[in-house]
């Protein structure tokens, strides 16, 4: 049982369990996809696509859910948003911010330039994540700390150490 839903009945394909599941989680899934697509029919089409994905191939995706590892709402939100992103990639031409495109794809290739030599693991994944949240998602320290479930001071310290490493690495190059 997850969030009051009989998973065994659901996976067994019982109509009553499925209807109850749809009634209970359709709003949550719609909220999750609405953040990524336009209002109206597009969101409801995606809602249907999420349910199709869940029950396709004899509930193959739903069978991968494990209530011991994560809450059903959390898992469904991830599945819904992933479905919405897949749909966006399918129906829309790929677009990316200019800053995200590597310069070698934009500019004329300089025959004399050498690829940057990056020391492996210069930044730890946690440091990269903290910097991503701070500089790409414009989150403040408190939000980052809440998201990562750590103390704000830890975030400041992680950020500081990461910046020291970056300055040390790129400093001589930029001078």
């Amino acid at each position: 049982v997850a969030d009051g839903i009989e998973l065994a009945s659901l996976i067994a394909g019982e109509k009553g369990a499925w209807d109850g599941f749809v009634r209970r989680y359709a709003g949550l899934i719609l909220s999750a996809v609405r953040a990524l697509v336009r209002e109206g029919t597009e969101a409801e089409d995606l809602l249907q696509e999420v349910f199709v994905r869940l029950c396709k191939d004899d509930f193959r995706l739903l069978k991968t859910y494990d209530p011991a590892r994560a809450g059903l709402s959390t898992w469904l939100t991830i599945v819904a948003r992933s479905t919405a992103r897949d749909a966006q990639r399918r129906y829309r031409p790929p677009q990316s911010a200019l800053d995200d495109v590597p310069e070698r794809f934009l500019a004329v290739v300089d025959a004399h330039s050498e690829p940057l030599k990056l020391p492996k693991d210069l930044l730890s994944p946690r440091q990269q994540l903290v910097l991503t949240m701070l500089y790409e998602r414009d989150m403040d320290v408190a939000e980052v700390a809440k998201t990562l479930d750590v103390d704000p001071q830890t975030v400041r310290s992680t950020h500081h150490k990461a910046m020291l490493k970056l300055r040390a690495h790129f400093g001589p190059e930029r001078e």
């Binding site: 749809v22 959390t74 590597p102 400041r156 910046m163």
Partner: protein, 174 residues
Amino acid sequence: MTGPIDRAEETALWRHWRTAVVNAAGEAGPAPDPLLLAAYAEHRLGEAAAEEVEAWIARHPEAMADVLAAGDSNVGPTTSQPSEAALARAMALVSDPKAVPFRRPATRTPTWRIAVARVSVAASLLIVSVVGFALGTDAYTSLLSGDQSASVLSQDLFDPPAGIFSSFGEESST
């Protein structure tokens, strides 16, 4: 944390790093399993597993929004309410195995009814034939036993006049 000038400098440093990383490594690996991301959003992962997810998220900043949304999904009620049509469409994806689909009952006509129908058609044909024959015979008999005009008529029926040839013969004899 830092002043505006520092922040601009730090942002530039970060972008420089990201561009270099993307250049050096190309595309990142496949997305983690949704359950792994969900567990990460709920802070249920161990340090090593969390690090792997974080490394992937650092390369895909848009996934951070998904993780944040997933983390907030348990907080407060959802505001979106799908239409009844959308709900019905989703519910229809799973059918009730106990429900018997509507089907017109098979109509098996008994043999005796087929026999009766055929006999009826045969009888109808027979009656029509007999009545037609009787009517025809009556008309013929009444013509034979009728008045003069009737006998002339009947004579004409069996021995018609010569017509144009007979008139030629009469003219040539005169």
